[in-house]
């Protein structure tokens, strides 16, 4: 059965320069679009405030796991690229006096589509739209009837990146900075003093709010360095996440700064019978 599998997944070297897009993908040559995948562990600091639970600011650690996938788009692989990102996080924080704990558990998913431009040899910038969904919960075990503050949102926004590929000394690497920020959407928040028990009883009115920058600000700043070692790369980086909401006189802030370590690589799916034609054009996901 395995032999009948249409494709094999093989790791490809980053093919630096080999797949450089230098123009239109039109023509008779076969276009191959490798998938850039990355698996990342995140560790860092977390700062939580949620006035539904407490007026105090909590600080502690944050851990998470993230997955990223980028690929040139089929309809115009030179100019357009898509990106999917997903992650889970857990934060554990303490109040200033150190006698109470507050947790955050969250999951996020986003899909974006970006137009990209090759600025100079090795430097690419891109920008476009993004759709995101976030789900999470801040949990304060010391509280009785108001122990948790649920977070849920669906948004559309903008994202962009600048990526440079080249050599630093003898090491080839890809550096990238990518900010992303939702612009509009909807998010969940109970009323000022509304207990979740009332929601449990069936009062669902007023829970959904239109999200925009005044009441919902969520910005992710991603900085990565993919250090290439043949087929795969070591990814080191930084992720700064700002989630700040204010609605119904309740303010909720979640700030995390995380160091990233992971593996990444560009992967090709090749038909075993037909192989890869000699004139195939490999169009990288990032540059």
């Amino acid at each position: 059965m395995m032999r009948r599998a249409l494709s094999i997944i093989m790791a490809m070297a980053m093919c630096l320069g080999a797949g450089a897009a230098d123009g239109s993908a039109s023509g008779s040559s076969e276009v191959v679009r490798p998938v850039m995948s990355a698996y990342m562990l995140r560790m860092g600091s977390s700062h939580l405030t949620d006035t539904y639970l407490t007026p105090l600011k909590y600080s502690g650690w944050s851990m998470g796991f993230g997955y990223e996938r980028m690929q040139a788009m089929k309809f115009d692989p030179v100019r357009w690229v898509m990106q999917m990102r997903a992650g889970i996080d857990v934060d554990r924080t303490h109040n200033p006096s150190g006698n109470a704990v507050m947790w955050y558990w969250g999951a996020d998913f986003s899909w974006s589509m970006m137009r990209r431009w090759r600025m100079t040899e090795g430097l690419t910038v891109g920008g476009g739209g993004m759709a995101s969904a976030d789900l999470g919960c801040i949990y304060a075990p010391r509280n009785g009837n108001n122990p948790a503050s649920a977070k849920a949102s669906v948004t559309v926004g903008v994202t962009g990146y600048a990526a440079w590929t080249g050599k630093v000394g003898l090491v080839s690497m890809t550096l990238r900075y990518q900010p992303s920020i939702p612009v509009l959407g909807a998010f969940f928040a109970p009323d000022y003093g509304e207990l979740y028990y009332e929601i449990y009883l069936g009062n669902y009115s007023g829970l959904a709010h239109c999200a925009w920058w005044k009441n919902y600000f969520n910005m992710k700043n991603l900085l990565t360095a993919d250090i290439h070692f043949g087929a795969t790369s070591l990814r080191l980086g930084y992720l700064g996440n700002i989630l700040s909401t204010k609605v119904n006189d309740v303010t909720s802030n979640l700030f995390t700064h995380s160091f990233i370590i992971g593996v990444s690589g560009e992967w090709l799916s090749i038909n075993r019978r037909h192989g890869l034609s000699n004139d195939a054009r490999i169009i990288s996901a990032i540059y």
Binding site: N145, Y197, M219, N248
Partner: protein, 339 residues
């Protein structure tokens, strides 16, 4: 490119707009934090005719930077006592403040040993927070000590089935200080024949003292699925220490047909408590979401017994092995059946 970066920097700065009030961890900061929390969230200022600003001035004059933690705790506790609310507490590592006059100014009207010894000769059953048995007059008796402990549907089925041949049921919630409202629903659903309005819940919509939502009606559906329901007379026995969720239970049962409330006015406690904390690390709890009965009336000051059924325990009866209130309930049921 520079413009794009400038926009993102600007947005980062704007994000700090969602700031929160910060309090210093000193005597004044903790006092102000406590006062503010109550000022913004407490729900019974109007019902209790409390001028919270005047309270602030009164107690702010009593604090100074040289106070010990215990002295600060005492001043803050005294300030919270002004609310006359059993749901309002300040919790420090060495003590929890507690307003007691809602029950200490009234007769206790309950002695568990009296019933266990003289009515059951210590031959009764216990299950979780339930103590139950059949009285000589063929009346089922349940004492439910706390709504913090619930029972499974099968357990309640077993108890009601045990009383299957009894002529009536007495549910004694004296000294029941409350607990989980979902346990109230689990019990009430055995006594309603159809979807029944249980009451209304209100929450604050903002920090102002009068910022309240419209009352939200909530209902109880009768138990189904082959579980036991009770259709015979019910007497609920109360005292002043029947509080919070137990007070809510009584307010619901009182409006059901075939149910009589006997004993003393309950202790109240109809505001669902909210939790918060001070920079010093002390926890604070207070009434935040009022619950009204099915007629839309507040029950913060208690639920009165059915007219004509207000009874206190007579100490002389108790010395002779009689619970005056339980005797009244038994006689009421026997009288019903004689009619």
């Amino acid at each position: 490119m520079r413009k794009i970066l400038a926009i993102f920097v600007l947005l980062s700065v704007l994000s700090s707009c969602h700031g929160v009030d910060e309090y210093s961890n000193d005597v004044k900061g903790n006092f102000e934090c406590l006062w503010d929390i109550l000022d913004r969230h407490y729900c019974f200022f109007a019902e209790k005719n409390v001028d919270w600003e005047a309270v602030r001035q009164k107690y702010a004059a009593k604090i100074n930077d040289g106070m010990t933690r215990e002295e600060l705790f005492n001043v803050c506790s005294a300030m919270l006592e002004e609310l006359r609310d059993g749901h309002t507490n300040l919790s420090a590592p060495f003590a929890t403040s507690y307003y007691r006059k809602w029950w200490s100014d009234y007769p206790q009207n309950y002695d568990a040993r009296l019933i266990e010894q003289y009515y059951f000769n210590f031959n009764y059953r216990s299950l979780g927070a339930f103590t139950y048995g059949i009285l000589p007059e063929n009346i089922g008796y349940i004492h439910y000590s706390t709504f913090a402990v619930g029972l499974g549907e099968g357990n309640i089925d077993y108890i009601l089935n045990y009383f299957n041949l009894a002529q009536a049921l007495i549910i004694d919630v004296r000294d029941n200080g409350g607990g989980d409202l979902t346990n109230v629903d689990d019990l009430v659903c055995r006594f309603v024949k159809e979807r029944t309005l249980m009451g209304y819940i209100i929450h604050k919509t903002g920090p102002g003292h009068d910022d309240f939502s419209e009352p939200f009606a909530y209902y109880c559906d009768p138990i189904g699925g082959g579980h036991f329901a009770w259709r015979k007379p019910v007497v609920v026995i109360t005292n002043r220490s029947t509080y919070s969720a137990a007070n809510n239970f009584v307010s619901i049962m009182k409006l059901l047909p075939g149910v009589t409330i006997v004993g003393a006015t309950t202790g109240g406690g109809s505001g669902m408590p909210y939790s918060s904390e001070l920079p010093i690390g002390w926890g604070v709890r207070f009434s935040a979401c009022p619950i009204l009965d099915a007629n839309g009336n507040p029950t913060e000051f208690g639920v009165e017994p059915t007219p004509g059924c207000e009874v206190d325990m007579d100490p002389m009866d108790a010395l002779n092995g009689h619970d005056t209130i339980l005797d009244f309930a038994i006689n009421l049921i026997v009288g019903m059946n004689e009619v």
